[in-house]
């Protein structure tokens, strides 16, 4: 298990970088296709996200006047690196070999980094639309992050562990956490949608108001990498929600040859992440963008309260029924 070759394979090939990027591009395709079909459009062909990525990687990089280009180059890389690292702790084949107590906190931290990166981008761009977008991004961060964290930490309280893999194992022995925490699941979905800045929470990049927000001055490979970081976040977020609420990539029983468990886990991983994606895409299609002040109202009044109520319910359940 601790064979360095295995760890390297895990990080770089499967389910690490290579698989992750392919799957992220496939996710982006599927997201666009689902939205297109719901809107009675044809939608893109399957290679479209890859073609976009390659095209943008080859485009000219334009440095806005007076902007520190080193920082501009670094920010998309940091964002991408953060979310790709986060994926290593999310179980894909039943468990993650890199799991440790507290990896849930690390994953949440790493997933918050792209938003901070966007804020810095907007702030550095010397462009009024970017600056407004950056401020909106960070305002939005303060609104959704608290309920999102609360919603994702309740499974940890229930399973009595800060490790995602152990929470998955707990669900293998008991029930899926979604049955105990339906409110938490909904809050987590809303929080994830807000974190990924998808409609109705695409406030920081509202195309018709502030051009593209913090993205306005991104060009060429910077834009490609930032886009890729968003696509990867979508996969990581879906996988995290699937692991914490939907039982993750584990069957409730153990299959006879050991390797069969891995395959079953992988299939479960695909099915569950795609199910989460379908939910996220439906939210995207069914709504328009809300305003930042409206989000503030809704976020703190309802979503945060719902998350707190869920924590309370979990504490009561834990008190009444001593978890084995």
């Amino acid at each position: 298990m601790t064979d360095p070759v295995f760890i390297l394979l895990y990080i770089f090939i499967f389910p690490g970088f290579f698989f992750l990027i392919s799957y992220a591009l496939f996710f982006a395709y599927l997201d666009r296709k689902i939205a297109a079909r719901m809107q009675q459009r044809v939608g893109p062909p399957i290679y479209q996200p890859l073609a976009d990525l390659i095209k943008m990687l080859g485009k000219e990089v334009i440095n806005p006047n007076g902007v520190d280009w080193r920082v501009f180059d670094a920010i998309p890389l940091i964002a991408l690196a953060a979310v790709m690292t986060a994926f290593l702790y999310v179980p894909v084949l039943g468990y993650s070999p890199l799991a440790f107590q507290g990896d849930l906190v690390v994953v949440l931290y790493l997933m918050a980094l792209p938003t901070i990166a966007l804020f810095v981008l907007g702030w550095l761009s010397r462009n009024i639309f970017s600056a407004i977008g950056g401020i909106r991004a960070v305002t939005q961060l303060f609104i959704y992050e608290v309920p999102f964290f609360l919603a994702l930490l309740t499974p940890a309280i229930m399973a009595g562990s800060w490790s995602i893999t152990e929470i998955v194992v707990w669900q293998q022995h008991n029930l899926w956490i979604i049955f105990f925490q339906p409110i938490g699941f909904i809050v987590a979905l809303i929080g994830l949608q807000a974190k990924l800045e998808r409609t109705p929470f695409d406030i920081p990049e509202a195309e018709t108001e502030i051009v593209a927000g913090p993205w306005t001055e991104l060009t060429g490979r910077r834009l490609a990498l930032m886009d890729l970081a968003t696509d990867v976040s979508l996969v990581v977020g879906s996988a995290l929600v699937a692991a914490l609420f939907l039982g993750g990539p584990m069957l409730p029983w153990v299959l006879a040859p050991f390797w069969l468990n891995g395959i079953a886990g992988f299939v479960l991983f695909l099915v569950k992440t795609l199910a989460v994606l379908l939910l996220l895409s439906s939210i995207k299609v069914a709504t328009g963008r809300i305003r930042i002040d409206q989000l503030n109202d809704i976020g703190w009044k309802y979503i945060a309260s719902a998350a707190v109520v869920q924590v309370g319910i979990v504490l009561v359940i834990n008190y009444l029924w001593v978890v084995p």
Binding site: Q39, I135, E207, T208, V285, A286, T287, G288, R289, I290
Partner: protein, 372 residues
């Protein structure tokens, strides 16, 4: 955050046409704004003075890409009145059918744009798909999707065959069903209510004071529609209602427009079913007698006025076009103050601006050489 100046336009994703706002914002609130129009002066009025009545209609049709029929109709209506021509009823009905189809495609387009600016792209895709049915009907009747070329002084250029009437009537039920759905969506879809309600409020007094016209004014409770108050074409004979609303905000304007969509389908249906027989045009004289007229018309965006002066030749001496967008601009500037930056696009879109049609002239102050 201190006050910042956000310059929007003349190139901006929310605006399909050139206009410039300088918005002074305090955080997300708008404190005041400056408006800069006329980026696209095309010299159409001057060009219209050089062409005779046959050649001027295609030119005037090109004032606007959406209400093209409106401009041609209002002009020929004025000239016919100066010449004292009586237009055959069949021509009146055909003009009405095209006019109402045009209103339908314009309002469907607007509904899509309004949905798009609040990020609700699903409705945008749906309305634009349904708009294709209207466009197809127009194409079948006139041969064109945008500039129909149906008008000429003295009547219309193309007759409607029974097959065309049949095909148009066949398309109507599906369209009516979709429009019913949109009426329902506008009143119940949470994502639209939350962004349209109490945004860009304008009272009845303000609407009158700033001279708003069309759906913008009717949404503030101004019960005025040229089609009813100064009937032309076949509107006096067709049963229909003027839609008004008392909300006065973007929600009210949306309600008025979807209401008008429904009325338009009924007008088109009535006209198609009761299309009178007879000739489609009368021969018009080459020259118009000396005269002046203000010809009015209810375009999809509001009251459109052409002031025409003739001098006894086959050309106009002066034609002055006042588009509804120009009448509505001042109301936008008033509505925007104290609103959220995020609401600029939707408030601007709510009057359905057609900027390039509006850009008509530049007044130069010779003393300080400052254009305005």
């Amino acid at each position: 955050m201190p006050e910042v100046v956000v310059s929007i336009g003349p190139q901006h994703p929310a605006l399909k046409e050139p206009v410039n706002f300088k918005i002074v914002a305090d955080g997300e609130k708008i404190v005041r704004l400056e408006l800069d129009l006329s980026y696209n002066h095309r010299g159409i009025e001057k060009a219209a003075e050089q062409r005779n009545f046959i050649r001027v209609l295609p030119l005037l049709e090109r004032v606007c890409g959406i209400c093209s029929h409106s401009h041609a109709t209002v002009f020929s209506k004025g000239i016919e009145e100066i010449m004292g021509l009586e237009i055959p009823p069949r021509a009146q009905y055909i003009r009405t059918i095209i006019a109402e189809l045009e209103r339908m495609h314009s309002h469907l387009l607007w509904l899509g744009v309004a949905a798009h600016v609040i990020g609700f792209n699903t409705l945008f895709m749906w309305t634009w798909r349904d708009r294709e049915a209207v466009q197809d009907t127009l194409e079948e009747m006139s041969g064109n999707r945008v500039h129909y070329g149906m008008n000429e002084i003295g009547g219309v250029r193309r007759d409607l065959t029974p097959a065309q009437v049949e095909a148009a009537l066949e398309r109507l039920p599906a369209l009516e069903e979709r429009i019913k759905k949109y009426v329902e969506m506008v009143n119940s879809e949470e994502t639209m209510l939350i962004r349209f309600r109490d945004v860009g409020k304008m009272s009845r007094e303000e609407a009158l004071k700033y001279g708003a016209v069309g759906p913008t004014a009717r949404a503030s409770g101004v019960d005025y529609d040229v089609r009813r108050d100064d009937p032309y074409l076949a509107y006096a004979e067709v049963p229909w209602n003027v839609i008004t609303d008392t909300h006065g905000d973007v929600y009210g304007r949306t309600r008025v427009r979807v209401g008008e969509l429904w009325e338009s389908t009924q007008i088109v249906r009535y006209c198609l079913e009761n299309l009178p027989a007879g000739p489609i045009r009368v021969d018009a004289p080459k020259n118009a007698p000396k005269g002046e007229i203000l010809s009015r018309y209810e375009a999809p965006r509001g009251e459109l006025a052409h002031f025409i002066r003739t001098n006894g030749t086959d050309k106009v001496e002066r034609v002055d076009i006042r588009t509804p967008t120009l009448a509505n601009w001042t109301s936008v500037a008033v509505c925007l103050v104290n609103q959220n930056i995020a609401d600029i696009p939707v408030i601007v879109a709510a009057i359905d601006p057609c900027l390039s049609c509006t850009s008509r002239m530049t007044v130069v102050n010779r003393v300080d050489k400052e254009g305005r």
